[in-house]
Subunit: 328 residues, 2 copies
């Protein structure tokens, strides 16, 4: 049985769910892939737990100073990066990912910062060292996006993409439409329920959706775009007057990340669009995410997913792990 040691950086809700699911699925990995999968390193910002023989559940909250070279100490074969996203610099996640790829380790990215900051660079680093860089957890997680393009639609030309990729903004728009509240009121309620961030600007202004789109285009379509190539709008300007007008017209507003092949590459961005009741996007209410992919050979595919976080994001990362285990 081949040994697979997993190191996790970032131990918030998703990191913890990853550890839980890894522990629960050990028998599956052994039976299906002949893989002895062990969690051998967990790193928080200021502490770490490391055991190259495997960390038991009781060890997860051990708090020791992080070893100089965490990945070596954990004897990791795979890094799962689930730390906070720093879109400006890539943050510590970028350093971990570069170190892992450069030393021949596979990487599963959950946080988006490093991928947005230097996706094409990381992609090349992985290719140069012959390892995999998987990004399902960072590109809408429970909603399959990259898998659809790379696997389910392999061989098809992607003509255009449209996606509801940010759950918070979709929830806010749904609340405004269905409860006739202002954006501020919907936001305050969502923050009160612990669903929206204290600083909601990433979600409300479209940057979270844009990040996911950028990652999807760079990794799924081999593009080399940066944020400045995208035209990004949000929902901050939506007034109750707009909402009432749409409702009267039978339209549903959605914040949509979109891309289309153009003569000079890809035209891509995030903007508010409205959909009639006959469109599947109109039914993607609340925290539902959805994506529509138009192809040359198999027409149009629409996928929608309603999943609960953070378990679903962890499951997306561990799906990526299975793809790595399957091909060695």
């Amino acid at each position: 049985m081949r040994r697979w040691n997993i190191a996790v950086t970032g131990f918030g809700g998703v990191g913890r769910a990853v550890a839980e699911q890894l522990a629960n699925r050990r028998a599956r990995y052994a039976a299906r892939y002949g893989a002895d999968v062990r969690l051998t390193g967990l790193r928080r910002s200021k502490s770490a737990a490391v055991d190259p023989d495997g960390l038991g559940r009781g060890d997860w909250d051990r708090s020791a100073p992080p070893p100089e070279d965490f990945l070596d100490a954990a004897q990791a074969h795979v890094l799962i990066e689930a730390g906070p996203s720093d879109f400006r610099t890539g943050g510590p996640g970028l350093g971990y990912m570069r170190a892992a790829l450069s030393s021949g380790r596979h990487v599963i990215a959950v946080s988006k910062g490093a991928l947005v900051h230097d996706g094409p660079g990381l992609r090349e680093l992985a290719a140069r060292h012959g390892v995999r860089l998987k990004i399902s957890g960072a590109a809408a997680a429970a909603l399959p996006t990259i898998d659809l393009i790379e696997h389910d639609l392999a061989g098809c030309e992607i003509v255009s993409i449209e996606g509801i990729l940010n759950a918070t903004s979709n929830h806010l728009l749904t609340e405004m439409m269905e409860r006739d509240v202002t954006l501020g009121e919907a936001l305050a309620a969502a923050q009160g329920a612990g669903f929206a961030e204290a600083d909601p600007s990433l979600d409300v202004d479209g940057w979270d959706a844009a990040s996911k789109l950028l990652i999807l285009l760079n990794f799924g379509l081999g593009a080399s775009l940066t944020m400045t190539d995208l035209s990004v709008g949000g929902v901050g300007h939506v007034e109750l007057d707009d909402v009432r007008r749409w409702r009267d017209a039978g339209l549903s507003p959605r914040l949509v990340a979109h891309a289309r092949r153009a003569s000079d590459g890809l035209a891509a961005g995030v903007e508010l669009r409205t959909y009639p009741a006959s469109d599947l996007f109109a039914l993607a209410r609340g925290k539902t995410k959805a994506i529509r992919i138009a192809t040359d050979a198999v027409g149009e595919l629409v996928v929608s997913s309603c999943a609960s976080e953070p378990a679903a994001t962890a499951a997306a990362a561990l799906k990526d792990l299975e793809h790595i285990l399957a091909t060695g």
Copy 2:
């Protein structure tokens, strides 16, 4: 560059579209997989065209007596089986598939007959000889089904499946609902347009949907079911009175293939169900197919696809080919 010779059995609409797409994608296969993919054998019921160096477009309609051992003569590495489905005996397709798997060749099934007749047997044969048996083209083709379960949701427990898998019956129900015509009238119009078969019983009575479900459960969930394990109904009993009642209640009827984990295995079948306008299945009109998969870890996923045949079915088969090329 590694040589991959492809043999195709069955040269109707799908087989021809496979040959077309194979020819169009040769450069892609070389660039992406380092694969020199050539069509080396085409077999109809009473004739064949074979050239181990590759058949050009001008050779496809060559009509020579089929060689004794077609697969050997074509020096095939992969068989794409696209002949007519014989659900009772498995038909010639079963013979070709068994011969290919037994001699260490990968098989891509498009026709359903052999898979329904002896899916578990073929699955074991493939495992014994260390080759792949891929079935996307036989399990709803352009609508990804097996890929969702095996790849996009890898590691998740599948709790239940619900699918609109037969386009003809969905088209007939949609016509009845939207044009207030009887089933007989809708069927006659579809036959006149060349869309429904002269003998529509496979579609109308639920057997086509049941076949796809059976293949999906046996190959995607590792089940070993036969048709007798499924409770199969159709749309033949639907009257205009039913249609009017559903319309008044805001419901949409769909012929649905369904499966759910039960204490003693899987409870599965095909039956008519009705959906309110808020359900994504209500928007799957006409020739649209859709599937809903409920999981433990990532909630519920709904996928819908509107694709044009036979190109989409061929594209599904060639997606399977890329999965084979990717892993060697």
